[in-house]
Structures are given as C-alpha cells and as structure tokens.
C-alpha cells in the first residue's frame, strides 16, 4: 500500500532479546521488527515484558543479550543518549517529567538552548509554545507542569518526544491518561508521522485503539515472542488468544441488582480551585447514588469530575463545601482518613503520585489504607498481612516474582492491581473509582468488572469515572455528564449513547 521507496523499509529489528532482573527471567528470546511508515502495535498481558523490551531499545536497560539493528546497522546502546542519537525517541509508560519545572523547561530538558542564557530562554518559550500549538495544545508554557492535569502532562511528554526529530518513535501506553479529544489529536499526529516515513511502536491495552491505527501487531506472552501479523489478518478474538493463551469472554458483564436505598446524596457541592483561582472547579453539583448502583460520571479534561470525587473524599479539606448525606446522615468532608472511616474509598487516577508508595513492597501497600485492621492494639500482624496480599495476588492475577518486591519494579498494570487491592481492604460502602482499569490488560479488566458486579450485589454504591467510553456505557446504570464544573446531562444507561455524552461533555 505504500509505493514510495522511502516507505516500508526496515528501520529496526530486535532479535533474540533476553533480560532478567536479579535472576528472574523477564524476556526470553523476544523479537520485534519495525518498518518505516507503519504503526506497529506491541501487545501482551500485564507483566508480559513490553515496557522492558522498550526500555532496552531506549538504552535504559543496558544489560541484556540479543541483537538490535537500526537501519540494518548493529547497534549497542550504553545510555539513553546513544539511543536518542540513533534516532529513537520514547514516550515511557510512567511520565519522566519534572512537575516543579515549567512546561517549556520540561520540553527542552536535557538539551537546553544555552548560547546566551536569557536570550535562549525567550526562544525556548516561544518554540515550546509553538510546538504545543502544533499538536493542538494551547497552554501557558511558563507555568509549572505540575499545575496541569495528568492528561496535559501526558501531551507535553508526547510533544517532548517529538521535539527531537526521530525516525523511530515508541509510545508506551500514551493514551492511558488522555481523554477522547486528546486521543484524536494524538492520532492526527501519528498519521502525520507515518506520512513522513517514521516508524511507530505503540503499546496499548485498548482494543478499539489497536484496530483503529494498527498496521501490524506483535504479541509477547510471559516474555516470549508469540508472533507478528498484519492487523487485518488478526481479529480481536485471535489477538486475545495470542495474548492470554486461551479464549476470553469479551462481553461487559454488568448485572444490576435490585434498586436499593440512597447511599450518598450530594447537594450544591462546590470545590474551590486548589491553585487559588477565583473560579471553582466544581460548582453547585447535586447528585445521589443508591446502594448497588454504578453511577458513571463522564466529562472531558477540566470538567471537574475527578475533583468532585476528590472533594467528597476530603482531599481538599475545607476547600470543598456542600451538603452531603451518607445513608441519610449528614456528613462533612474533612480529611481522607475521615472519609475512609465513614465507608468512602477513592481509587485515585494517578497511581504513581497519589495511589501507591512506590518504594514500599506489595504487602505493605496492600494493607496501608486499612492498617488498623492488621494491627490490633498497634502491633502489626505480618502473617495476616502477607496472607491478605497473597489472596489479592491470586484474585487479581497479579504478576510478581515475590510479594516482598517493591511496587516500582512491577509492571504498570500490576501496580494498578495493587492499588485496587489496597482499597478493597478498606471495605467501603461507597466506592469511587477514578479510572480503575487504567493500564490493565483485557483479562484483568474483565476481572475488575466482575468485582464491580460483586460489590454492587453486596450493596456497595460505585461512582465510576473512566475515559473509555464503551466501559462507561456498559458498566454504568446511570450516567451524569459534567462540563466546566457543572452537570449538563443525565441519562439512564439504556438511553445513553457515545454521541449524546460527548455533546453534553462539550457543553
């Protein structure tokens, strides 16, 4: 389909790649080939070794066996600079930006324009601003990156990767933190890159994405290479079979229990802007959830849906105000620990900064939010803790060499599972799930849906935020849509469609 001579030539080949971490084999004989002008999907379950393979290509991991050819020349990367010099640019799964620095500084991090410090700074700001505009992002580049929501940060990361003109671009789950609008922007960029003859390696767990942009698909399972096929020849069922090694039920399994009583009702809830701006991020929102119900809260970036849940949970302390009733009793959001004690739990949308203590091990993260349960009279019960963690490991199919592993050496999806396990342990009555399936593979997603069913059948009320529209539509019993801090629409799940929701979300 690509006639141009410059297209469809081999850019990269990795063969016989093996890698182990302190004795645990993570990749064994993995391979990957990339041609110019193609989007090559790298698929596999959580912990299959996708990110590890990419980190080898990026020069992050330098101890491995196997050979890498770039433009048919054998290469050996000793650092990330070597990889960049060979024309490889990587958007890593975990953001690698500095939140305390400005957006412009982040984009040029590591290759600052340094002729005359003050002159170059103005130039940098202008250039950064232009580059972001080109990918459809119009923001103040002199503000601290940490002030912006995760999705904007992700777009900045993408912009940074594109700033160096590279021929091989790797994106490791770039859309896991993006909303639909930004995903469209990203796909436009990808189409342009393809036109220019770049090769793109793209990792994702979202099936719709795979079939929208894939030219070819390669699959890894447990660190082993399973195969490569053109997207047109590998249908979804077969792809899942390759990834999981067995067939998998792909239906959304929502079973709504009978209508319960009102578990949480919120009236005129307002959250002031945490950075002190005069406009509230959530203004006068009212809604309620019943026991056994899943309420979906849709909204684009900046809609305030995440802030609404955080406000009720007590994250912002007194910056959030409104009338809240829990099972008919009045409740004031004071602190997260107060909320947890009252049966409200919040799975936050960013496991790295607000979800997990990355330096602690799996067991300790699992029990952190419910530690009182595991320490009667202040004394910890390590045996009980391990037992619980072991239980969740099985239930959530957590892939980890041992439970005493630090969570930062887990794969992204497995980290998410630890965060979920932590909140299950708090035994909430009202469960706020902010992007519960972020970075989670197909099999585990299904497990999480089943868990949501189980919880609602036990009378737990769930409020769900997710940027994956099919998930929202299929799992919610009722959907409210937010735009700029206000509710703009409400649908019963049967009446809701993707178009209606998007329209309401745009205001």
């Amino acid at each position: 389909m690509l006639q141009d001579d410059k297209k469809n030539i081999q850019l990269l080949s990795m063969t016989g790649i093996c890698k182990s971490f302190s004795g645990v084999q993570v990749l064994s004989d993995a391979q990957l080939e990339l041609r110019s002008g193609e989007v090559h999907i790298l698929a596999g379950e959580n912990g299959a070794g996708k990110s590890t393979l990419i980190k080898i290509l990026a020069g992050v991991h330098t101890e491995y066996t196997g050979t890498i050819h770039v433009d048919s020349k054998k290469v050996n990367f000793n650092s990330i600079h070597d990889a960049a010099a060979a024309g490889i640019s990587v958007i890593h799964q975990e953001l690698s930006l500095v939140p305390a620095m400005s957006v412009a500084e982040n984009i040029f991090l590591g290759r600052e324009k340094s002729r005359f410090a003050w002159l170059a700074k103005a130039e940098m700001i202008k250039k950064a601003s232009n580059m972001l505009k080109e990918i459809g992002l119009d923001i103040d580049v002199t503000r601290e990156l940490g002030d912006y929501p995760l999705s904007t940060q992700q777009m900045v990361e993408i912009c940074k990767a594109l700033a160096i003109n590279c021929r091989i671009i790797v994106m490791d789950e770039p859309t896991s933190a993006l909303t639909d609008v930004e995903v469209e922007k990203l796909f436009t960029i990808i189409a342009k890159l393809k036109q220019n003859g770049c090769g793109i390696i793209y990792i994702t767990h979202k099936m719709e994405e795979i079939y929208r942009i894939a030219d070819r698909i390669s699959v890894l399972r447990d660190g082993k290479y399973i195969g490569t096929a053109p997207a047109s020849e590998l249908n979804q069922a077969k792809l899942i079979q390759w990834m999981v090694g067995r067939e998998l039920n792909q239906q959304f399994p929502r079973h709504k229990p009978k209508d319960g009583s009102v578990a949480l009702s919120v009236k005129d809830f307002t959250v002031a802007d945490p950075s002190g701006k005069p406009f509230p991020v959530v203004s006068k929102v009212s809604f309620s959830v019943k026991t056994g119900e899943i309420l979906g809260v849709a909204g684009l970036q900046g809609s305030g849906n995440s802030e609404l849940l955080n406000g009720i949970f007590g994250t912002y302390g007194t910056k959030a105000k409104g009338k809240i009733e829990l099972e008919g009793k009045s409740y004031n959001p004071a602190t997260p620990s107060h909320a947890i004690a009252n049966g409200i739990s919040l799975l936050t949308n960013d496991r790295k900064t607000t979800g997990l203590v990355l330096g602690m091990n799996i067991v300790h993260n699992t029990t952190l939010a419910a530690l009182k349960k595991f320490s009667p009279g202040h004394w910890l019960k390590p045996a009980k803790e391990s037992q619980t963690a072991e239980h969740h490991k099985k239930a959530l199919n957590l892939k980890a060499a041992s439970l005493s592993m630090q969570v930062d050496s887990l794969s992204g999806g497995n980290q998410q599972k630890v965060a979920i396990a932590k909140w299950i342990e708090t035994e909430p009555k009202i469960f706020f799930l902010d992007e519960p399936t972020r970075g989670v593979d197909v099999g585990a997603k299904h497990e999480i849906y089943e868990l949501m069913n189980k919880w609602t059948s036990q009378g737990i009320a769930i409020v769900l935020i997710t940027s994956e529209m099919p998930e929202l539509l299929a799992m919610s019993d009722r959907i409210i849509v937010m735009h700029r801090g206000k509710i703009t629409a409400e649908y019963a799940s049967a009446d809701a469609t993707q178009e209606k929701i998007l329209q309401a979300a745009m205001g």
């Binding site: 971490f21 302190s22 004795g23 645990v24 949970f313 994250t315 602190t335 997260p336 620990s337 909320a339 947890i340 004690a341 919040l346 936050t348 900064t353 607000t354 979800g355 997990l356 203590v357 990355l358 330096g359 602690m360 300790h364 952190l368 939010a369 530690l371 009182k372 320490s375 202040h378 004394w379 910890l380 060499a401 041992s402 932590k422 708090t426």
Partner: protein, 329 residues
Amino acid sequence: MKNGLKHSWIASPVTRALGALIIIFVIGLIFNADSAFFKWGTHRDMLRAVSVYGMLACGMTMVIIAGGIDLSVGSILALTAVCFSLFTIHRGINVFIAIVLCLCIGTLCGVCSGAFIARFRIQPFIATLAMMVFARGVAKWVSGGQKISTAVQQADGSYKYVDVPEIFNIINSKILANNITVVTIIFLFCLLISWLLLVKLRYGRYIYAIGGNEEASRLSGVPVSRAKVLAYGLSGLFCAVAGICQAAQELQGDPEAGVAYELSAIAMVVIGGTSLQGGRGSIWLTLIGVLTIGYLEKILSINAVGEDKRLMLTGAIIIAAVLLQRTKK
C-alpha cells in the same frame, strides 16, 4: 522465581553496609598498635564513646525515614545536659523527678519542631535549624553561659565544691564484670525502642509510608501529622537521654556541648545506607553506621593519627561508604 532470592542477599543494603564495617574492622586488625584490637577493653571503650552519638542517630533514623531531617539534636542534648546538672547538682532535686523533667523537655522540643513541620508545613531543615538555635539559646540562658559543674557559686561569690550525685556514677559505671558500660546499655535500649516502633508497630509503617510518598499516604488515611510529630518527638526524647548521659560522662552540664553532633548523627545514618530521600532504611543499618564510625575513630586514635588527618579520613570514608551503597543499583 527462586533464583531471584539467590542473588538478593548480595544486593541487600544490610550486606553492603556490613561490607563497609568489615573493611574498617580488617583495617583495625592490620594497624593493630599494641594488639589493642585483641583486647575487649578497646571495643568496650569504643562502644562507650559512640553511645551518645548512637542515641542521637536512633532518633535521626526515624526522622530521616519519615522524609525529614533533625538539625536540633546537638542543641537539645546540650539543653538537657545543662538542665539535668542544674536540677541534680545545684538544686538537689530528686533524681527520678529530674530525669523525667529532662525527658519531657527534650520531647517537648522535638514535638514543637514536629508540630511546625506538620501543621504549618515549614520545611524540616528550616524548622529544626530554628530549634537548633533556639534550644542552644535556652541552654545558655538557663546556665547563665557557665558550665554547670560541681563547683557551686555561693551568695558571696565564692565557690563551694559539692559531691556529684550518685546517678552520675551509676551511668558512668561498667557492669557485667566490667565488660560493658551503662551508657552502652542505654544506647542498646534506644535501638530496641526504635526497632519496635519502626518494625513492629503501626506508626512505624506510617513513618515509612510518609517518607515514601506523603500525598499517597494522606489519601490512604494515614495520620500524617501525628506520625511526623511522633518521629520528631521521639528524636527529642532520645536527645534528652543522650543529654543526661553526656552530663554524667562529663560530670557537668556544658551549654556548649553537642556542637555539630547532628552532623555526626546524620553521617552515621547515611553510612548505614538509609537514604536521605526518606521511605527506606532501618535501625540496624544505623547500628552498623554507628559501629563503622566508632571503629574508624578508635583505629585512628589507637594509631595516634592527628585530628587533621582524622577529619580528612572521616570525610573520605563517608563518601566511600555511600558510593559502596550505590553500586549496582
């Protein structure tokens, strides 16, 4: 999967820290003037010399794991040493009450730093720097700038020498057939308390969690402020214990005592391998760090190395030990 555990002991921080200690120990065996290293007395004296620092290092370990730093330990030590001498030697207050009062003073200082850090979000470096200056000031004010010793000034300006209270001798004595000093026992007791808190108790877990990721901990319902106040308060308590021991060893309360002790305590923690970033480390690593510095000093003094070279060597050792910790990460 089993292979993973085969290699892990090599990489574990305890092994690395022990490595540094063993190297120092071997150096001691080589430069073994008068075969001093073969006499238990040498080791006993090393332990005695290092005990007061060790107590400060215990508190410092908890504070550092919680993601903070405590610069005020030396000053609180001086303040409590002065108070203890004043209470017992000059005022003749009951020893038991004097000890309790001093422990309260130390704890209060720590709790104040902790409260400013937790409630008003002042950076630990700054809050404890302020406490360092403040406590030193109080120590000088209470003592009138004089060493509080057995020479008690009378109303007419003459000095009268009094006997030092019995408690001073008790703390200074050696027990178990002269094989170990009481201060060392007290240090081991501080270690034990720190270990219990950090490993066995719920709040210890909170301290690790806060040091690792404060925001995630807060959102998990961890009582962040209380855990921080606890860490700084305990650090203050151990300072007071150290201050009492210091007064007993010097037979006086010196308002100038403990200058730069905070740096020694931090060095001991860091040499052990506890990272200043917080969230990681252990009290046993600190014990190793304390012994490493203790032996280093002892070896240098056995071999009569001058203070100038001693300081240079200690600086070099700190860097070397920390680099050793970092290799192969």
